[in-house]
């Protein structure tokens, strides 16, 4: 630098703080994230062997599924099997959501500090809900198929448990966020715990609860696609059937059809949920 106007009377450098190291949480957190990814991604006994090179190589490979896309058999969409499959999926989802919603409501209420009459019940219900949530719907389906045979019933049961888990979790999240004012006033007039929950808590969570139920209906529709693979009914059985027989042209057509149905229901559901909230 050329002769600049003299800097202000020299401050000792020690007045300027050194840049602090990143907070330990962030540091260790980021390292942990990266380490975890590497460990789990690598190709060793405990990793999954992820390799971009492999993917690239394989993209060019003969892909019968994509071939099926080239000449889609749309007529299959009108076949009775397929229509029955769609209908069954819809029925399964509806029954599971309604029944699941009914059971989930008290579970959600008990799963919150405001709604539970005492700590013991709260802890018990909380653990119970976590437990139910930890089991994916397909596993329920596999179990019930093995226990009572194939058909739509195992599928309904599996979706039922899934619905209870999802609706209860989402609803109990909002129960803790309600306005406590009416709760206090209900208590102040001598209401019992149940009465307080019904008059002060329930009206506040009803819109959210209904919205979650609709959302769960969608999840159930999509879930039933997979359940069919293990024999639990719905459109998934059609998928599984066509896949195993190699009828890719029909498979893709049905999959696309399914996708369209899901999409339409999704749009409707979003519109209705917006109006509710």
């Amino acid at each position: 630098m050329s002769a600049a106007p003299s800097a202000p009377a020299s401050r000792p450098d020690s007045a300027r703080p050194d840049k602090p190291p990143p907070p330990p949480f962030v540091l260790w957190g980021s390292l942990g994230l990266i380490a975890l990814t590497l460990v789990l991604g690598w190709d060793w006994e405990y990793g999954i062997g992820f390799s971009l090179r492999d993917i690239y190589d394989n993209l060019g490979r003969h892909n019968p599924v994509l071939e099926g896309v080239r000449n889609l058999d749309w007529s299959t969409l009108a076949s009775p099997t397929v229509l029955a499959g769609f209908a069954e999926t819809f029925q399964m989802a509806a029954i599971a959501t309604i029944l699941g919603g009914i059971v989930a409501l008290p579970l959600a209420l008990l799963n919150s500090v405001t709604g539970a009459p005492n700590t013991f019940v709260y802890v018990a219900v909380k653990n119970f809900n976590s437990f139910i949530r930890a089991i994916p719907d397909l596993i329920y389906a596999v179990f019930f198929v093995a226990a009572i045979g194939r058909g739509a019933l195992p599928g309904v049961l599996a979706l039922f448990f899934l619905s209870v888990a999802v609706i209860a979790k989402l609803t109990s999240d909002i129960v803790d966020g309600i306005d406590q004012g009416p709760v206090e006033s209900a208590r102040a007039s001598g209401a019992s715990h149940t009465q307080m929950v019904k008059t002060a808590v329930l009206p506040q969570i009803l819109p959210g609860y209904t919205s979650f139920a609709l959302y769960t209906f969608e999840i159930n529709l999509r879930g039933s696609a997979v359940l069919g693979f293990v024999g639990a009914g719905g459109i998934g059985e059609v998928f599984s059937n066509y896949y195993q027989r190699g009828w890719y042209d029909r498979l893709v057509a049905v999959v696309i059809g399914f996708f369209v149905v899901v999409f339409v229901v999704d749009r409707i559901s979003i519109a209705v949920r917006k109006r509710l909230l």
């Binding site: 991604g41 992820f50 209908a87 709260y122 994916p136 596993i139 093995a146 009572i148 019933l153 997979v226």
Partner: protein
């Protein structure tokens, strides 16, 4: 009799006034009725028409208990190690999948945020995200099977691709919820769009977005068990084999238990980390010195500020000033 707010009316006038106010009639709630009736009809119609064999229904309780018994009495822990390995594989698929989804959705989330980009860009980005959200994972899985075979990588890819949609949408919502102040300040200082994003937006949204990733990871753990059912690996494949094919009930019971336990553990850890990320590094501020001063304008909820997680919980007395 009610006292009228303005004195000065004669008694006769007051009498007339209170008689003139008639009690309203209870209105007929159309909305509620339609909803209830629709739901009931829906339920009965679907129950009646669904193709369920009643014999299955009748046998349900007894069979369930029977097989649960086979699974857990007595418990068989010899299979535990293979179950744990399989579960780790599922965790791996879920994690890698989530990372893939996170990486791809990250830029998309910005593009889909109305406070950062113009309408056409946002619209396009949102349609892309919606597409990914609508397609069920199973579809991606089927499409990918010929490419990468029946392996964990396939599942990871499928999970990753199907996570893009939700992560992108929720990420965009987080971004739209930030404070505009810092962005404005950066613009006023002459920052270009990318710089504004880098310095004003990203620091605000990173904690919540990372928390989103962890939340999606929890969901993907369940999805990977499901996806594994087609045979691509992980705990899903193991369980399907043990329950569905070879009917080794005791081993299945152990596998199921391992799956639940590990899922719950990971859920708890992930939940703690998420809360910690969002809360930030400050511990609950110690206001012991200020305990004497109490906030004004008390409502039932406002009270002397407390340290950390203490304070009345639920059924106890509310703590007001």
């Amino acid at each position: 009799m009610a006292q009228t707010p303005t004195g000065g009316m004669t008694d006769a006038q007051a009498q007339q006034r209170s008689e003139a106010i008639v009690r309203p009639e209870k209105p007929f709630n159309r909305f509620r009725w339609t909803v209830t009736i629709t739901l009931l009809t829906l339920f009965f119609v679907t129950s009646a028409t669904v193709d369920i064999e009643l014999t299955q229904l009748a046998a349900l309780p007894e069979r369930t208990l029977f097989y649960l018994g086979l699974m857990y009495t007595p418990p068989d822990v010899t299979e535990a190690p293979s179950a744990i390995t399989a579960m780790i594989e599922s965790l791996g698929m879920a994690w890698i999948g989530t990372m893939i989804g996170a990486l791809v959705s990250f830029p998309l989330a910005f593009l889909a945020a109305t406070n950062l980009f113009g309408k056409p860009v946002v619209f396009a980005a949102r349609q892309v995200l919606n597409f990914f959200r609508s397609v069920p994972e199973i579809v991606f899985l089927i499409l990918l099977l010929p490419v990468t075979g029946l392996s964990p990588v396939t599942v990871a890819l499928a999970l990753g691709i199907s996570s893009i949609g939700t992560l992108g949408k929720l990420g965009a919502e987080v971004i739209e919820g930030i404070e505009g102040g810092p962005v404005e300040a950066a613009a006023a200082a002459g920052g270009g769009r990318l710089q504004r994003i880098r310095w004003a937006v990203i620091p605000q949204v990173i904690p919540e977005i990372v928390a989103l990733w962890l939340y999606r990871f929890e969901i993907n753990i369940r999805n990977s068990a499901v996806a594994g059912a087609v045979g691509a690996g992980g705990i899903g494949t193991l369980l399907v084999r043990q329950i569905g094919q070879v009917r080794e009930w005791a081993a299945a019971g152990t596998s199921l238990a391992i799956m639940v336990i590990i899922t719950l553990i990971v859920d708890t850890i992930s939940g703690r980390v998420r809360r910690r990320i969002i809360r930030g590094p400050t511990r609950a501020v110690d206001l012991g010195a200020n305990a004497g001063e109490q906030p004004e304008g008390t409502g039932p909820g406002a009270g002397p500020k407390r340290e950390g997680p203490t304070g009345s919980v639920g059924g106890g007395a509310v703590v007001p000033v």
